[in-house]
Amino acid sequence: MTTAWTPDQPIVGIKDVHKSFGPIEVLKGVSLNVRKGEVVCIIGPSGSGKSTLLRCINALVPINQGSIKVEGQEVHDPALDKLELRKKVGMVFQSYNLFPHKTALENVMMAPIHVLKRPKEEVEAQARGLIKKVRLEGKEDAYPGELSGGQQQRVAIARSLAMNPDIMLFDEVTAALDPETVKEVLVTIRELAEEGMTCMLVTHEMGFAREVGDHIYFTDRGIIVEHGPPATFFTNASDPRTRAFLSQIL
């Protein structure tokens, strides 16, 4: 590690990040900080660059300009070991992306065994614990195709947690779910937040953002329009764009 990072500094520090896909600039100078144990929710209309921002944090997407630091380490340093970074940053996707040829338990166990090279027995005990934690006991041997959307998403969360990450990124994880199953996934995330996991959520669930979020960011057309703690953000939004968006959603 090049810079000594201490937990009182931001665990994720984003400064003036620009990102273009071809001629389209999706991030036009985004800055935000996340402290350890904080739950940050990013809201905003579709296409405002929320998901891209999350993908930049674990280097799935390269940035054009600016700086992203995770635990003091520059993410877009070409010399950075991306695999080391991704061991610290877990990510859960809208489309679950479970490995369909593996059972729920195997999905959770794969990365710790093959990436972290941890002993199988120890990983299996942890994986069974995680499946229990996301309330899927008895589904260990089910294949993803045999599980509902909400169940698959909870396996995906367990799969990320098995890497013992320091930060969890949630990219619209409930957007593809039936209304009835949204709740079971949100309950899992809320528990994580309560345990002190640092979480960054891109979400359309305003009620949930208000309830679990420590800080809300509103993005529109590639910039952060407004941010603040939920209590003031949802009641006293000052920017007209934020107010227009909230009035449509709430």
């Binding site: 991704r86 992306n97 990365a111 990436v115």
Partner: protein, 294 residues
């Protein structure tokens, strides 16, 4: 066809269109009815020739079926104490498929390499061997490779039949490479993304996550290429190998009877049909099975 037959045809449920066009097309040509027609045609040619031969020649010469029976062992397994005939065709098909599959897998991974030079070279090799006539490739391999290799004091023979096998393996390699590339590209990008975010390396992602999901998709087109390869093995007779085709021609030469031409080649066709038809049927079954699961 009778009116009843026609109405049956209309009322019968339409088979779902096959997702893999090429395989589906080949497979649909082999219905149980086709099997019946092939066997029936062969039997009638044999019987008519038999009757005709008896009429013309009287008792002097062997009948057609008896002659076929006499030559069948040679065409099937080659001359005594020598390996050849249809068995050699099958051996060549196995070996060429094995060589073509392993090298095709490597070439296919080259096609999806992140390293541009590897990708370009793989692309060129694939296109070259996919678009060359198999017979010309065979001649090239026959003429370009020596009949033996010397490594130090050791002499490794490189017999004609093995050269021919390599010659057939080359187009198989190129087509297997295309199957691999197509299957890998058909896996949703989300699988790559989630593997990446779990810190899997690219090689680990391919080996543990992407390729295992590709196997099911690759098996039907792969089997289709095996059937095509097997049906192409008589090409090796051109380069002087004792395969079923060569031996059929030898048998005809020693008999000197024009009435045997159709039955002898018919018998050879029948051997290939009996071997390849079940593979085609099995391919369709697997295609349907996997189409539902994926």
């Amino acid at each position: 066809m009778s009116a009843g037959g026609n109405s049956n045809l209309i009322l019968a449920p339409v088979a779902p269109p096959s997702s893999q066009g090429e395989t589906g097309f080949l497979a649909s040509a082999f219905t149980p009815r086709a099997l019946g027609i092939a066997l029936g045609l062969f039997a009638s040619v044999a019987l008519v020739s038999e009757a005709w031969a008896q009429l013309v020649a009287g008792g002097e010469r062997l009948g057609i079926l008896a002659t076929l029976w006499k030559w069948a062992p040679l065409v099937l397994i080659g001359p005594p104490r020598e390996f050849g005939g249809f068995a050699l065709n099958i051996l060549v098909s196995f070996l060429a498929m094995a060589i073509g599959t392993v090298s095709g897998l490597v070439l296919g991974l080259g096609l999806i390499s992140k390293f541009a030079p590897v990708r370009s070279v793989s692309w060129a090799i694939t296109q070259f061997f996919r678009n060359s006539p198999w017979l010309v490739l065979l001649f090239f391999v026959m003429l370009l490779t020596p009949f033996q290799f010397r490594i130090g004091g050791l002499t490794i023979p490189f017999p004609a039949w093995f050269k021919a096998t390599v010659g057939l393996a080359l187009p198989v390699m190129a087509n297997v490479a295309e199957i691999v590339r197509g299957a890998v590209n058909s896996i949703p990008t989300g699988q790559w993304e989630s593997a990446e975010s779990l810190a899997f390396s690219r090689l680990q992602t391919l080996w543990r996550i992407i390729l295992p999901q590709c196997v099911k998709r690759m098996i039907p087109p792969w089997m289709n290429w095996y059937a095509i390869l097997t049906m192409s093995t008589p090409l090796i007779s051109i380069v002087g190998v004792n395969d079923a085709m060569t031996l059929t021609q030898d048998a005809l030469a020693s008999e000197q009877r024009t009435d045997l031409l159709m039955p002898m080649y018919g018998m050879l066709l029948l051997f290939f049909f009996v071997y390849c038809y079940p593979i085609a049927r099995w391919t369709i079954r697997l295609e349907r099975k996997f189409a539902v699961r994926i």
